[in-house]
């Protein structure tokens, strides 16, 4: 069974129902709508991003559905990204936002972990270079911030 997804720029995407349901948002929509054939509009996702999201869901269509684990500690686990996923994530923040909107937790986690790995171990200046950011602090402000956050222990 296929469903039709419509991106924000009005492009249609025909997808297997099983693949589309990797998005909890779409899954819930389909349950509410029932056996209807009408296309599902996704006003928050452009065609370019939706193409990538569908590619991800196709590749992972047979993965077991993840059960949310509140007591898990994500900080310790950012090094378990599959190689295919690493190549897939061209660190596009739009995919992360789309994954959040469509409620596809595994894709959201992979995207966030990829970006987190870029930040880890870098000095503030290196982080600025990586994300093309200008430093708008005065040296006094920098010193103050360092001082007022010294207390933080390992999370």
């Amino acid at each position: 069974m296929t469903v039709i997804l419509v991106s924000s720029d009005n492009q249609d995407f025909k997808v297997d129902k099983e693949v589309a349901e990797r998005s909890i948002l779409i899954k819930n929509m389909l349950e509410d709508v029932g056996e209807s054939d009408s296309p599902i509009p996704l006003p928050n996702v452009t065609a370019a991003v939706l193409t990538k999201v569908i590619e991800y869901c196709e590749h992972h269509r047979n993965d077991p559905v993840q059960v949310p684990e509140e007591t898990d500690d994500p900080r310790k686990r950012s090094n378990d990204i599959e190689e295919w996923d690493m190549k897939f994530m061209q660190v596009d923040h739009e995919i992360i936002l789309a994954a959040n909107y469509l409620d596809i937790k595994p894709l959201l986690d992979v995207g966030c972990k990829t970006v987190a790995n870029i930040i880890k171990g870098k000095t503030p200046e290196e982080i600025r270079k990586a994300f093309n950011i200008v430093n708008d602090f005065t040296p006094e402000e920098e010193a103050q911030i360092k001082k007022e956050n010294e207390w933080a222990e390992d999370r």
Partner: protein, 531 residues
């Protein structure tokens, strides 16, 4: 796709979840916008201590300014407070608090018990602390996880009553040491426990409570109990542990550490307790129970029949079994091969169970559905190529392959092991480390000299055969006297693309090779406990 790295505001909180403290502190200095986004994440976990210098580690810690903390209460999810800190830190309400931990120190607790002071009137400083503690739990009803550790100012009735009647949806209670020193407080404690879904009670000191046997704990699915001998005046009596267990009809997982039964004077009462437990199992008292974790559940009777009988009577589909210092003998093993235990996915046998090399191999060659297996050791000489391992779904294996000291032709025998391991292509975790050095008389097979003669993990000995394990994420060989080196490391990086953690001694490694590993996201440690 833009290809340019951006980190807009909306996704920063999601990223922050995966960053450690150092990374967040660096982010705070990047720009004003970053500072605004990441500061709340830094305040998610707050630890309040009572002195500037940590007495154990000697690390100088910067104290937290209570006024700064007052402005950030909305960000705090995890609040850890040690005893003997200023009362101001107890007067705070955190609207999104998920975890609350109160830590005392165990030496203060035991000195009060020794002086028999824990039942009399509290010294003034502790009285203030008790009032402070009550205030803190009253102000934070959103808490899901409560951890109470060795509090010299034993919580009183009001503490537990507040939790019982005002907390919204408590889930996990982890209590170590004293929790109630009067009968009234004890009653309140048990009533509060009925609200939780997970209970961990270690070395619990609690006054006798007549209502315990009348209560039911309908929400508890997970129970972790460490029994105490009950000879000291207020340690929870072993029979009360059983009363508690029986009052949890929805129990799914049970961890029972019966260390205190090891003394022979208690073995009689221990036998009676185990019998009662077994009878309850027989009567299907816990219809959802499918995961068992026993430690030191042995008694002075030889032969270890108890465990066998327990398994025999087990009415449900057992999915997980973990044993430490519990007699696991041939009869128990035979039972596990029965179709009744088809459901068993996880089997972990730690030291002190008397598991022999042949028994461990028997499991690998007879139980097709096991996914996680741990045992102490397997003699390489026992691995028989004509008896292939059938557990094709094995995802995690922890066992040390060793040679009997006097074995000739080790190289040939090593290849037998490699041939079998290579077929376990679903493995994501392989730990060949040596973790059972502290042998007891229950592990008669393990001789100290054998521990040095472990499976050779060099490429020339056959490591290359394991290129089939393409899903491997964890590879460990701690304490196994290896002489692996750079060639092995390069091979691992080349063939195990999913590898994320490597544990064990690598000889003669160049710094650049380690950096390359890190860049690929592989964590390397010299040692670490097996699962």
């Amino acid at each position: 796709m833009t290809g340019i790295l951006e980190l807009p505001e909306e996704i920063r909180p999601f990223i922050g979840k995966f960053l450690d403290t150092n990374a967040i502190q660096a982010c705070l200095l990047v720009s004003r916008s970053f500072h605004q986004s990441f500061e709340p994440i830094l305040w998610q976990k707050v630890v309040i201590r009572n002195s500037k210098v940590d007495p154990v580690i000697g690390i100088k810690r910067v104290p937290i300014d209570v006024d700064a903390l007052k402005t950030r209460t909305r960000d705090v999810h995890n609040y850890v407070i040690h005893d003997r800190v200023d009362s101001q830190f107890y007067e705070l309400s955190f609207p999104h608090l998920k975890r609350l931990q109160l830590i005392g120190n165990s030496s203060a607790v035991s000195s009060r018990t020794l002086k028999n002071e824990d039942n009399g009137p509290l010294p003034f400083s502790y009285q203030t602390q008790v009032a402070d503690q009550n205030r803190l739990v009253r102000l934070n009803p959103t808490t899901r996880t409560l951890v109470v550790t060795d509090l010299p100012a034993t919580p009183n009735t009001k503490f537990w009553e507040t939790i019982h009647s005002t907390w919204f949806s408590p889930q996990i209670l982890h209590a170590t040491g004293p929790v109630a020193s009067t009968q009234e407080a004890a009653n309140a404690f048990w009533k509060a426990c009925t609200r939780f879904t997970e209970l961990t009670l270690l070395r619990l000191t609690v006054e006798y409570s007549p209502i315990l046997s009348t209560l039911t704990f309908p929400r508890i699915r997970y129970l972790n109990l460490e029994t105490t001998p009950g000879v000291q005046s207020r340690w929870l009596r072993p029979q009360d542990h059983l009363v508690l267990m029986k009052a949890c009809p929805q129990l799914k997982h049970l961890t029972w550490n019966a260390s205190s039964f090891s003394s022979t004077s208690l073995s009689l009462s221990a036998s009676a307790l185990l019998l009662e437990f077994r009878q309850a199992i027989e009567q299907n008292h816990w219809p959802y129970l499918d995961s068992l974790d026993f430690c030191k559940l042995y008694i002075s009777k030889p032969g270890g029949k108890e465990l066998t009988l327990l398994l025999q009577d087990f009415p449900n589909r057992l999915t997980a079994l973990r044993l430490e210092s519990c007699q696991f003998n041939i009869r128990s093993l035979r039972l596990l091969k029965d179709p009744k235990f088809d459901s068993l996915r996880i089997l972990k046998l730690f030291s002190g169970c008397g598991v022999t090399s042949k028994m461990a191999l028997d499991i690998l060659t007879s139980c097709p559905r096991i996914e996680v297996f741990r045992s102490t050791h397997i003699y390489v000489g026992d691995v028989d190529p004509s008896q292939p391992w059938v557990c094709k779904r094995l995802r995690s294996l922890t066992v040390c392959f060793i040679h009997r000291e006097s074995t000739p032709s080790r190289a040939e025998l090593d290849l037998n092991v490699y041939a079998q391991l290579a077929k376990m292509t679903d493995l994501t975790r392989l730990d060949l480390g040596q973790y059972s050095m502290g042998y007891t008389t229950s592990d008669p097979e393990f001789h100290l000299m054998d521990a040095i003669n472990t499976l050779d993990l060099r490429l020339k000995a056959g490591l290359g055969h394991l290129s089939t394990l393409s899903k491997l994420r964890f590879f460990g060989f701690a304490f196994s006297f290896q002489v692996t080196g750079e060639a092995e490391l390069l091979w691992m990086m080349e063939h195990w693309k999913e590898l994320r953690t490597l544990v064990g001694q690598l000889g003669g490694i160049v710094w650049s090779a380690l950096r390359a590993m890190e860049a690929r996201g592989v964590e390397y440690r010299l040692s670490g406990r097996g699962i």
